[in-house]
């Protein structure tokens, strides 16, 4: 474990002074050796190389190798400078005391892959591009609160906000800077040479993409930070997870990427020789997500009874092999805002039945409860083909049948469930894993998820698809983003977690654990629950020969 702690200290920095000193301090670790390649297996194909466009997780992993943001969040949840020289704080004067002005000093001497120098103009251009109505940016949320972005000199950026916005640092940790000298002169912002030949400042340069098969990135020998030690990283697309595991078994891939090894292959994986398994908790929480627009779910007693009637212990211990830790909150214990004092879940079908009886839900002739003509019957949906989750659904179905509740399974392809069906609240309930913390780049903000002004079907914005509305929650969630100091935010979010646990608009089940495998010789592979992809530090990877 010590070794691991040590590695933690050396990596996050991507070439900070601390990191290089630690390496020179040279505990029992051999010096990194150069050369070799790593093949990362991915179950989805990365295709979007402009980091500001709409993208999915696997795209993000490629962005992390090709590009840099101003800073990046390390596994401990701290920001570590990349293109910025330091992290702005109130203490170092980088953030004004009213939280309205950010002064960012950039690292000097950084060059783009084509040799052009990186300057504040690139940061300014990146911001302008995001806000440019002609550009199909992934999102403008957060950026639209920036009143002005100026560059007093080529190594300084000044942000002025219209009102304090605490997740601002997190936002910029997920904003990858693009080159002005390339994208500034293209005629079509949405379709241009940058989509197929991206140029960044990252540790790897773009090699080639063989569509439908793989993407090759080559080492950037002029990288400003640590490494890269590898000659190249190859992202290999393997559409089927069973096949992916098999290919890891046969040694065809060196690293199993996002979704890596499914829990039902964990035991098998442990028996493999010559591989290292990495199992780290993530900030993804598995939920049973209700649509409170449905009359059955408006009654809090029903939500409570369903939680009581869920055999969470067996759900996790048996169906998920006891791998993921149980969750009561939307935040993971590793978050600074986590509330450790939430009541523990209790599996008690009798109490569940009593709770329903008491609330007036009586068992009908068919064994299903009903109240005022509303049957306690609903559907549960998720992405079809997620086999372990399908097993969990069948298990829940039996759990809840025992308390007189009828749940039908109605799984659909991803493009159907997570389209209008989910976003326009057309579902009864879904089983889904969300990383609410990570959505904002590592921030406990819940406004978008549980704020009553953020119900898409009502206001056309936000992600509050459960249609949860609670005035106290609204007030706290607003307050949480307008205060910048972490100490002041902490009690607010602890209270928010308590309210969510009391109201149960969603049932938290467990924290996902990423099970990933690497070939044994690969050094410095490190999971980072704060980022969507674990290739985040590929610059520091190397092969022990």
């Amino acid at each position: 474990m010590k070794r691991r702690e040590f590695l933690l200290a050396t990596l996050g920095g991507v070439g900070t002074a601390v990191a290089s000193q630690a390496l020179r301090g040279g505990r029992a670790v051999a010096a990194p050796q150069k050369g070799g390649q790593v093949i990362v297996g991915l179950s989805q194909e990365p295709t979007v190389f402009n980091p500001l466009k709409p993208h999915i997780e696997v795209d993000r992993g490629v962005h992390m190798c090709l590009f840099d943001a101003l800073w990046r969040m390390n596994p401990q949840g701290q920001f570590v400078p990349n293109l910025a020289a330091t992290i702005p704080t109130v203490e170092n004067g980088g953030i004004s005391t009213d939280g309205l002005q950010y002064t960012i000093h950039l690292r000097r001497g950084v060059t783009w892959h084509d040799g052009a120098p990186f300057t504040a103009a690139d940061v300014e251009f990146t911001y302008q591009l995001i806000m440019n109505p002609k550009f199909d940016a992934a999102t403008r949320v957060g950026y639209d609160g920036i009143a002005s972005l100026t560059t007093p000199d080529p190594a300084t950026v000044v942000l002025k906000l219209s009102k304090p916005y605490a997740p601002m640092l997190a936002l910029w940790s997920d904003t990858y800077i693009v080159p002005k000298h390339v994208l500034g002169s293209v005629t079509d912002l949405n379709n241009n040479v940058f989509d197929t030949k991206p140029i960044g400042t990252g540790a790897f340069t773009f090699g080639e993409r063989v569509a439908g098969d793989h993407i090759t990135l080559e080492a950037n020998r002029k990288f400003y930070g640590t490494g890269p030690y590898l000659d190249r990283v190859i992202f290999k697309y393997i559409p089927d997870l069973t096949v992916m595991f098999t290919r890891f078994q046969t040694g065809d891939i060196d690293v199993t990427g996002i979704q890596g090894i499914t829990v039902d292959h964990f035991d098998e994986a442990k028996r493999l020789k010559g591989v290292t398994l990495h199992t780290g908790p993530t900030n993804f929480v598995e939920y049973l997500w209700f649509n409170l627009g449905r009359p059955q779910f408006q009654d809090k007693a029903v939500r409570e009874a369903l939680y009581l009637g869920m055999d969470k212990q067996s759900y996790i211990q048996r169906i998920y092999y006891g791998v993921p830790p149980v969750s009561e909150s939307y935040l993971a214990p590793s978050s600074w805002a986590f509330n450790p004092n939430l009541p523990k879940h209790e599996y008690n079908p009798d109490k569940a039945k009593a709770r329903l009886e008491e609330a007036g839900w009586k068992v009908g002739g068919d064994g299903i409860r009903a109240k005022n003509g509303v049957k306690l019957s609903f559907s549960n949906s998720t992405t079809a083909g997620n086999k372990v989750r399908e097993q969990a659904q069948a298990f829940l179905q039996q759990n809840w049948k025992a308390i007189g509740v009828d749940m039908q399974i109605k799984d659909m392809p991803a493009a159907v469930v997570w389209g209008d069906y989910f976003f326009k609240s057309q579902f009864d309930s879904v089983t889904v894993g969300w990383n609410i913390w990570g959505e904002a780049g590592g921030d406990p903000n819940v406004l978008n998820w549980f704020g009553s002004g953020y119900i898409p079907v009502k206001s056309g914005k936000g992600s509050n698809t459960t249609q949860y509305a609670n005035e106290k929650m609204d007030r706290l969630a607003e307050e949480g983003v307008s205060v910048v100091s972490q100490e002041k935010r902490k009690p607010i979010y602890q209270q928010i977690q308590a309210i969510l646990h009391e109201d149960l608009p969603v049932l938290p089940i467990f924290y996902y654990v990423n099970i990933e495998g690497t070939k044994a010789g690969l050094q410095n592979y490190q999971q980072n629950a704060n980022l969507v992809s674990n290739v985040w530090n590929a610059n520091a990877w190397w092969w022990a020969k």
């Binding site: 179905q397 399974i409 392809p413 159907v416």
Partner: protein, 294 residues
């Protein structure tokens, strides 16, 4: 998978002529074997509640992944501790229902389109045949997936989808057959005798073109069972907790090494059913119309 049916109908086995159809069929040993197997499968499916040793949906996590011949489970249990044998028996119901119903859909649609096209001729013929061509010019798996993405999967929708993507071969066969029959003298005689169109079609045209339809339909059953498993593999199949051989096989993939029995038995069932039905189709072709060709 209509193309498969078409391909197989192309093949002809000639030679043994002169004996009546039944005798020809019974001489086809593989077809007899196939018939026995299919009959057994059908009976098992029909009497599933009497035969299945336990409730195929009952979950008992304590006994999950029991290997075959351990404890009370003849074929072992699945990841949720459900009895595999019972599930296989009930899955047969679903898979065979999908197979036979999809065949009915494709036979009815195909025969209707083919008959009308041939009988009406002219514009109707052109339009119907162009629509058939459209169906033929798209690989049926593409069409199948397109349609599957359209409807949330249930036994009924999967059946319809498979049926509606496999009628084209039948339509062409029927049209060709009826065009041939229409030229024969007895049709003229019947027309002269004042037979109505409907009577003509039902009494003379259809019976005389039944042979290829029966053969194609048999092969379509086999294809439909396979198609259901493909759709399941690609994530658009029948919903849990209901079991079909296709989704059982698909769900077993992850356990190929740790619990191979989960994949072996449904795979064998599909192969057994499909092979048997194909043999019957083969036998029928030899028996009904040895000269059968598109």
């Amino acid at each position: 998978m209509s193309a498969r049916a078409a391909v197989r109908v192309l093949g002809t086995a000639r030679g043994r002529k002169g004996s009546p159809a039944v005798a020809r069929f019974t001489r086809h040993r593989l077809a007899i074997l196939g018939s026995v197997a299919v009959a057994a499968l059908l009976l098992t499916a029909i009497f599933a509640p009497d035969i299945a040793p336990r409730n195929p949906l009952y979950i008992d996590l304590v006994v999950r992944f029991t290997p075959p011949l351990h404890g009370p489970f003849a074929l072992g249990t699945d990841p949720l501790g459900r009895d595999l044998l019972s599930r296989l028996i009930y899955a047969g119901r679903i898979s065979l229902t999908v197979g036979f119903s999809a065949m009915l859909v494709s036979a009815v649609v195909g025969t209707a389109v083919g008959t009308l096209a041939a009988f009406r001729g002219g514009a109707v013929d052109s339009v119907f045949m162009r629509v058939t061509d459209v169906g033929f010019s798209l690989p049926s798996i593409f069409l199948l997936l397109l349609l599957a993405a359209f409807i949330s999967p249930s036994v009924l929708s999967i059946t319809l989808i498979i049926g509606l993507t496999s009628w084209m071969a039948t339509a062409r066969l029927v049209r060709g057959q009826i065009l041939t029959v229409l030229k024969l003298d007895f049709i003229e005689a019947a027309r002269a005798g004042g037979a109505s169109d409907l009577r003509l079609i039902l009494r003379h045209l259809l019976p005389n073109s039944a042979a290829p339809v029966v053969v194609a339909a048999t092969l379509n059953v086999a294809d439909a069972i396979l198609a259901e498993s493909y759709v399941s593999f690609l994530g658009y199949g029948i919903q849990p907790p209901l079991a079909s051989w296709g989704n059982m096989l698909n769900n077993a993939q992850s356990y190929f090494v740790s619990a191979p029995w989960l994949a072996v038995f449904p795979g064998l069932m599909i192969t057994l059913a499909v092979t048997s039905i194909n043999f019957i189709g083969d036998g029928l072709r030899d028996a009904l119309d040895p000269r059968l060709k598109i």
